[in-house]
């Protein structure tokens, strides 16, 4: 069974938030939705879980009982302790008794939260709070797990923990969709969907996206065209769409970050949006 949002169009007033966007995810795999702020990642995920109505398009999703969702905002009730948060969610999904306690303890152990079960969520660190939110979303063993920027604002160690949890969820058979602004995280997913300003820039496996990239990326310290260049460390990368770079440019094999940024610049130039 493939869960999907197909040809989604979402409009908020005059703003076109999603324009003909398709996302598909298979059980046992992870799809990463990448893009900058305002790209439409959250809107797409909210469409998938039924939080917003699509103007056009369709959604294939399991029932609410089989969806686990970690929103970008919170993920837990701050005044409740870790255990109370888990118990509340378990109660909503019909878990109780030893089934609930066993599942709760197992998830908290994997999330390294067993030592803080009696601590209010408001007193957890950012990373711990996101891991708690993840554990709550996973508590009922959902078929579809939707995570909205689970690692944003989280320290590198907690990010590793979160990714381990995501991988374990997919290995257990869940279809996982997660949004992220970190392209290194997207590279770990089975497939990715890059969004920019509500439009699809690229989709498929990492190899598919890199293979379909058209144009040349060059490394330089003084870009020829500022509006086609971006900083990478101490130097610039510059995109030459569908054409050869100047002879003095040092071309490189673009990585996923280069590709997504280059495609985003290309789209903006085509729509006259480049600064």
């Amino acid at each position: 069974m493939t869960y999907a949002v197909r040809s989604a169009v979402v409009r908020f007033g005059d703003t076109l938030a999603l324009d003909d966007v398709t996302l598909e995810v298979e059980p046992g795999s992870v799809v990463a939705v990448v893009g900058g702020d305002g790209a439409g990642k959250t809107t797409l995920l909210r469409g998938l879980v039924g939080r917003i109505r699509l103007e056009h398009g369709e959604v294939d999703a399991p029932s609410a009982h089989q969806i686990g969702y970690l929103p970008a905002t919170a993920g837990s009730w701050p005044a409740l302790t870790v255990a109370q948060n888990m118990d509340f969610v378990g109660g909503v999904y019909g878990l109780s008794g030893t089934t609930l306690s066993a599942r709760r303890d197992e998830l908290l152990r994997r999330a390294a939260l067993l030592d803080v079960v009696d601590r209010p969520a408001s007193q957890l660190s950012g990373g711990m709070r996101r891991k708690l939110g993840f554990a709550m979303a996973m508590l009922h063993d959902p078929q579809l797990l939707v995570l909205d920027e689970p690692s944003t604002g989280v320290d590198p160690v907690s990010r590793i923990d979160l990714w381990r949890l995501v991988s374990e969820a997919a290995a257990a058979g869940a279809a996982v969709v997660m949004s992220t602004t970190y392209l290194d995280e997207a590279e770990r997913a089975a497939t990715l969907l890059a969004l920019d300003d509500g439009r699809m820039l690229a989709s498929g496996t990492r190899a598919d996206v890199l293979r379909s990239f058209d144009g040349v990326v060059a490394r330089t310290t003084s870009p020829h065209r500022r509006d086609w260049a971006w900083r990478r460390g101490r130097e610039f990368h510059e995109y030459w769409p569908g054409e050869a770079a100047p002879r003095d440019a040092t071309t490189l094999v673009p990585d996923l970050e280069d590709v997504v940024i280059a495609l985003s610049l290309l789209r903006r130039h085509r729509h006259g949006l480049a600064s």
Binding site: S7, G50, R53, H56, Q143
Partner: protein, 370 residues
């Protein structure tokens, strides 16, 4: 300095609720205090009973006494029943010398005015104040204060509790869970309902203990009126939460609901003394009707039958406000789900609890409609 002032004006211009308060509140206060802040009751309703009822009614100054009942065959018991049922403010029993005016002390300002006017009759009419013989303000205020406390918990505390879910983003999670919007609302307000009920018992008990306020009526009638009233104010709290994004906005809005209830419900200023236009606002407020019930039951021992109007009004308000609040809250939690299909594996769950919560209803008409 200039930049700070400009920034402040720009922020203010986008904060429509504060602007509305800044502009609307002075107007509201002007109107209320201009037309409503009046303790002098201009007219009262009166009844005359006994063999000399018609003759006595003719002698009463019509500018003050609005004689609505003349019962020549009536007795003192009939006069007391008219007062207990709040049919009139004063009932004068004739057929004895002097005639006896029984005054409803639960209507504080009216009874003060009545006693004052009756004193001009000298020894022709004696007066007896029932239900609040010493015309104590606390006896009248405590039953009304109970309503005010319930209003406070119902609107401000409940709306803050619900808005907090929105502020922390947990409303988003509730919306995706298989839980009906009505269940979310009932689950959220039940603790407030219980706390408010406990508060009501404590305040009533303390009022009786500290101020010797009597409780002459049926506790069940009182509890039923309080429960209906609580549903109205809790519904208002939910409604306020649906139009507020932050706790600050919820408090602002709840305050706009609370202030007219304090000033126009008859709790402080008698409704009979208000200008007609302002009085009708009072008749649209739930606290007005709860005060009628609480004062009626506690002071006069009024029966359910005699309080049918406030009970009916509260019941109608409860249905209207709660339905409106639920519909608005449902819209927040569960937007319409067109073009949505439930996956085959999950159908068993959907069938177990059809259309449960925000979960999509199973559909078969797949296909893009746009």
């Amino acid at each position: 300095m200039r930049a700070m002032i400009v920034k402040e004006f720009r922020e203010l211009s986008r904060d429509r609720r504060t602007l509305a308060m800044l502009i609307g509140m002075p107007l509201l206060l002007l109107v209320i205090f201009g037309y409503a802040a009046n303790f002098r009751v201009p007219t009262v309703t009166a009844a005359a009973v006994g063999p000399g009822a018609s003759r006595l009614a003719a002698t009463l100054p019509s500018s003050f006494f609005d004689v609505t009942r003349i019962e020549p065959s009536g007795t003192r018991a009939d006069a007391e029943r008219l007062l207990k049922d709040n049919t009139v403010d004063v009932a004068i029993v004739t057929g004895r010398q002097p005639a006896l005016a029984l005054v409803d002390g639960s209507n504080l300002f009216a009874s003060q005015a009545i006693v004052s006017v009756l004193n001009t009759f000298g020894d022709k009419i004696s007066s007896q104040i029932l239900y609040n013989p010493d015309l104590k303000t606390s006896w009248v205020m405590v039953p009304a204060i109970i309503g005010l406390i319930l209003t406070f918990i119902g609107t401000i505390v409940t709306s803050i509790g619900l808005v907090r879910e929105r502020e922390t983003g947990t409303l988003e999670q509730l919306a995706v869970m298989p839980i009906r919007p009505s269940t979310v609302i009932l689950g959220k307000i039940s603790p407030y309902f219980l706390v408010a009920s406990l508060d009501m018992v404590v305040i009533t008990g303390l009022g009786m203990l500290l101020f010797s306020v009597p409780f002459n009526g049926n506790a069940f009638v009182f509890a039923l009126g309080a429960a209906l009233f609580l549903f109205v104010v809790l519904g208002l709290g939910v409604l306020i939460s649906t139009i507020s994004q932050t706790a600050g906005q919820a408090i602002q809005t709840a305050f706009m609901f609370l202030l007219p209830q304090i000033l126009l419900s008859g709790m402080i200023f008698p409704l009979d003394a208000m200008a007609a236009g302002v009085r009708w606002i009072g008749y649209l407020l739930p606290l007005t009707y709860f005060t009628m019930i609480s004062q009626g039951v506690m002071l006069r021992g009024a029966s359910m039958a005699s309080l049918w109007l406030p009970f009916l009004m509260l019941a109608v308000m409860a249905v209207v406000v709660f339905s409106g609040a639920t519909l608005r809250f449902r819209r927040d939690l569960a937007p319409s789900r067109h073009h949505r299909h439930v996956a085959a594996e999950a159908d068993a769950d959907a069938d177990a609890e059809p259309h449960a919560g925000p979960g999509p209803a199973p559909t078969t008409d797949a296909g893009r409609s746009g």
